[in-house]
């Protein structure tokens, strides 16, 4: 069952750490999206494809 709770005002337990975590989250999100965008621009997706679509038997100890 899904439930929703509404409280009056912020949780005082987290009053000091919350802004820090908020900043960390949004900064990390921004960096992640920027990395993805640059990776796509640079051709990382094609590089992943080329590596994954070739069978490396030597990786399994097959000479």
């Amino acid at each position: 069952m899904v439930e929703h709770h509404m409280h009056n005002g912020p949780d005082t337990h987290n009053a000091t750490e919350q802004p820090c975590k908020t900043r960390s989250f949004w900064t990390a999100l921004l960096v992640a999206v920027a990395f993805m965008a640059y990776g796509v621009f640079r051709g990382d997706v094609l590089e992943v494809y080329q590596d994954a679509s070739s069978l490396c038997l030597s990786c399994f100890g097959i000479e």
Partner: protein, 297 residues
């Protein structure tokens, strides 16, 4: 929702992860691995892209490739960070086929052991040494050479099947070509399979580099666990937890795979809220009686 039904749902999604990773059944006609566009997409867990029926690529295989060609894997790091920020290690608990194997083998009735926490350094060593440094220096995929997942889903199936290569007309693996490495890989796999029976998810806890990367985001991800103030530390959560975590000590531990088995205890709740909102503004629990007085240590 009862724990039995809840676990059945999670088993179903784990089986779905296994099926999703092995959609390419045309391999049995063509005798070659899939080379279509989905191979450019990494699954959010460890699964060898050399598996005969693999549809997607392995993130760690891809990262090693980038290290070997001396490029930083921007796209892979970016999209795994995004995944971690949204749901943390949820893919480990709900999709990973190797996690499913560990969960199932641990259910076998036998004497169980608890592996010391000191081995938690394992994933860091594996990531730094086998996935990043050695491939960078030697241009060889060192993690892949030892990975038990690859042995199980790719090495053994290829050797057992040994199809005729349609391009050359010869069998893929000629006689007497199985080297020392193959035997080593079999021994590593055998050791892990034995360990899976007696210990809780040892590969996830002490080896897996994918889980390690996603674990960095558990504390700031949208999905979180909370423990109520009146928790009496009865250890029910630890007994339920496939990662052997004391949830009351750190509900958002990097080890947590968000399987939510611990929410069988009424003192543990799961919430999903965007950072910036008051912590308890939008709380989604699995039972109505749970969220009162919840805290985030």
């Amino acid at each position: 929702m009862g724990i039995t039904l809840f676990r059945a749902i999670r088993r179903s999604t784990q089986v779905f992860g296994l099926v999703l990773s092995n959609v390419y059944i045309s391999v049995f006609v063509r005798g070659q691995i899939y080379k279509g566009p989905f191979k450019s997409v990494c699954v959010p867990f460890l699964y060898c892209h050399a598996c005969p029926t693999a549809t997607f690529s392995c993130p760690i295989g891809a990262v090693q490739h980038f290290m070997a060609i001396h490029k930083f894997p921007f796209f892979i790091v970016g999209h795994f960070a995004l995944l971690g920020l949204l749901v943390g290690r949820t893919a480990c608990g709900w999709l990973c086929p190797f996690g499913l194997l560990q969960d199932l083998l641990y259910r076998l009735e036998t004497r169980k052991i608890r592996i010391p926490r000191a081995f938690s350094i394992g994933p860091y060593v594996v990531l730094l040494l086998l996935v990043l440094m050695l491939p960078f220096v030697t241009s060889e995929h060192w993690f892949s050479k030892l990975c038990p997942v690859g042995t199980l889903v790719a090495g053994i199936p290829w050797v057992a099947w040994n199809p005729v290569n349609p391009e050359t007309g010869e069998v893929m693996i000629a006689a007497n070509t199985l080297g020392f490495l193959f035997v080593t890989k079999l021994a590593i796999l055998g050791g892990f399979l034995g360990l899976f029976v007696v210990a809780k998810r040892p590969f996830c806890r002490f080896v897996c580099p994918v889980g390690l990367f996603l674990s960095f985001f558990n504390k700031i991800s949208i999905l979180k666990l909370k423990v109520t103030e009146d928790c009496d530390r009865c250890d029910t959560c630890r007994k339920m937890c496939p990662m052997d975590i004391k949830v009351y000590e750190d509900p958002n531990s990097g080890d947590c795979i968000r399987c939510l088995d611990c929410t069988a205890c009424a003192k543990v709740t799961v919430t999903a809220s965007l950072p910036g909102c008051p912590t308890n503004a939008a709380s989604h629990g699995t039972a109505t009686e749970k969220a009162v007085g919840a805290k985030t240590p």
